[in-house]
Subunit: 391 residues, 2 copies
């Protein structure tokens, strides 16, 4: 469609019906693969059928918790005439989120540094647009959450992908350092990690902070860290989660309640700034302008009314841990090389044959649905054929 000689460029609309940016987004290979998988595959046709085993997305596997439904029902009863009026950064929601984050991370987050969003996607997009301009580079590690790329490209930014340490599933700090250029503005860190389940240890995060501090000085421009941590409460074996925000003050922390509540269709999350971040007033003006200009990305009133109560609610993490163990034991006994995840809902394991798409397709023919690793990285560089399965 881009060659005017084919379509006759004289007639308006023939060769540019949509914007270049939309066309580019629609043609991201990993995005096309996940779209085909979700809409045109055996999965699309059969995952809701009786007997199908759906281990793909972070969706529920059982009925919603009674407490979750009851809390929303209570919050639905109007207490005044502005109950369903426009909502922005509601005070009670901000306070509940800040207190909870303070308890989790031992960092005294302030309620006015919590910016409420329609979930994690919007919090990440908000963070990127707050600090980065078109052409700036964003570093993240492979295998990534498969939707960083569309978010980064929609913001006009340049994705720079580095490998993780495939033995430990840790960040490869050498690879990150080597990828930094004068255009680097953001490094995205996702811990507990989707898909590996790895929680990055505090020593690693401290070394990353030192690295970013030195690199910022070297390039003469601040490199921000966006910490994407929707699984920071889905942690196993009594481990303690540490956020990059504890080590690097220039961290924007993106959180979604969709995992803790296992209700990703009810969109609520936030972007949080640590109290140590410099230039808080300028950041605040930037973020609040973007919350409106990006399309009013505030969570719905009902969820805000419920949030102080919902902050106390979580799915049963010990049950998730038992499911992880059961699945890992079974797969291990079949000969799969399983590295136990420390958090999240996922197992990330090498496939027994090199073509992970062919392998997951063969499972799909048996009504067992898992995601091939190629859904989250460029096909050509798929040096570590793997699959991701929801536990």
């Amino acid at each position: 469609m881009n060659d005017p000689s084919v379509t006759g460029g004289a007639s308006p609309g023939q060769d540019d019906a949509v914007s270049d940016r939309a066309r580019r987004l629609a043609s991201i290979p990993s995005f096309q693969r996940i779209d085909a998988f979700l809409n045109e595959s055996d999965y699309a046709r059969r995952h809701l059928m009786p007997g199908a085993c759906d281990f793909t997305l972070g969706n529920p596997h059982q009925m919603p918790a009674e407490r979750y439904v009851r809390t929303l029902r209570d919050a639905l009863t109007p207490q005044h005439d502005q109950w369903f009026a426009y909502q922005t950064n509601g005070k009670a929601s901000r306070e509940a989120a800040a207190e909870s984050l303070h308890r989790l991370l031992a960092v005294p987050f302030r309620s006015e540094d919590i910016y409420l969003t329609t979930g994690g996607f919007a919090a990440i997009a908000l963070a990127l647009k707050t600090v980065a301009d078109p052409g700036d580079e964003v570093i993240y590690s492979l295998p990534p959450w498969f939707l960083y790329e569309p978010l980064v490209l929609e913001a006009g930014l340049v994705p720079v992908k580095v490998k993780i340490d495939t033995m430990t599933f840790d960040l490869d700090l050498g690879a990150i350092e080597a990828a930094i250029t004068e255009r680097t503005r953001v490094v995205i860190v996702n811990s507990p990690n989707n898909p590996t389940g790895r929680i990055y240890p505090p020593e690693l995060l401290r070394r990353l902070a030192d690295l970013l501090e030195a690199a910022s000085a070297r390039i003469g421009r601040r490199i921000y860290l966006v910490s994407d941590e929707p699984y920071n409460r889905i942690v196993f074996d009594g481990l303690r989660f540490h956020s990059p925000a504890e080590f690097y003050p220039h961290t924007l922390l993106a959180y979604s309640y969709g995992k803790t509540h296992l209700s990703p269709g009810e969109r609520v999350g936030y972007l949080a700034l640590p109290p140590t971040i410099p230039h808080r007033d300028e950041m605040s003006h930037a973020i609040t302008a973007l919350q409106v200009a990006m399309g009013w990305v505030y969570p719905n009133g009902l969820l805000q009314h419920a949030l102080p109560e919902l902050e106390e609610f979580s799915i049963d993490v010990s049950q998730l841990q038992r499911r992880r163990d059961r699945l890992a034991d079974a797969l291990g006994s079949m000969g799969y090389r399983v590295r136990l995840p420390e958090g999240t809902f996922y197992l990330y394991i090498p496939t027994p044959i090199p073509d992970d798409e062919a392998f997951t397709a063969s499972l799909a023919r048996r009504d067992v649905f898992v995601l091939p690793a190629s859904c989250s990285k460029p096909r050509a560089s798929s040096g570590c054929p793997s699959l991701r399965t929801r536990t």
Copy 2:
């Protein structure tokens, strides 16, 4: 902060803590004025106090309708384990929206051409990004809805503002034609209009369609029309609303349920393509990619479960019409020059003194809160000092 000599540019983060784009958005004059009005004015301090008369935003003036609350409560009861799972363009919601739009406009909208969003802001932003690339120009008429400018700028586009006919409140087609350049990609039309309450007549829309068809041919590139019509069901005096989508096939129709339901805090709306639009497949791929990449702008599951039922619900428009009449009569008898709005919730009337901000501030000291027209246009060009009051 932009002068490195002031802050010492050597230390990273001193002079570029936030992105240029965020800084530009935060400094839009009309945006700053509305922000100051909402957060730092007499309005901010007193609009919720007993006796205060709040005629500013499109927020409720009475308790939520029982039917609205009951419908949401019914939709909250889970019918299966995926009740709160990720939602995209839900089939039942699309069908209900398409049927309703078909009844309203006598255009046979197809359910697969309805793209569900978190309200009107997201629908407009989605429309702009689907067809326009950074640097493209977007024409809209003054006085505009005061948040077009942030949405247009966030999309990297260039706002081009033209005057309306201040006698009839109609679009000034000559002004629109004169504003078209080779970079023009979108004309936004808002009918029924916020703030004037004008419904553009079908003859005017047909002439606009002819104008845009001819201009597209002249510049060799399709000019799209974005029809922002959240008030298309808030219409008085038995008038019939006509959408630009009936006359110009290259129309993207943005709708929000926030006005019809008077619940702008529960975000749900859509972007609809008329069945006559060319290149539907390419548009569909572009829009669905953007719905994810813009930050998962789909409405929450609860609202989607409720939508087929909520499509049948509306606030009482005849009551709104009686309120319009009462307010217009009272203002007219005091000597205000009132032009009766044909739809929406607003009256847009000249202020008795030239400084509309000073005038609305004097009303605010008496606890009567209305918006000065300068909130929606650059101060310098405020040739028609007016105020907008919610009826």
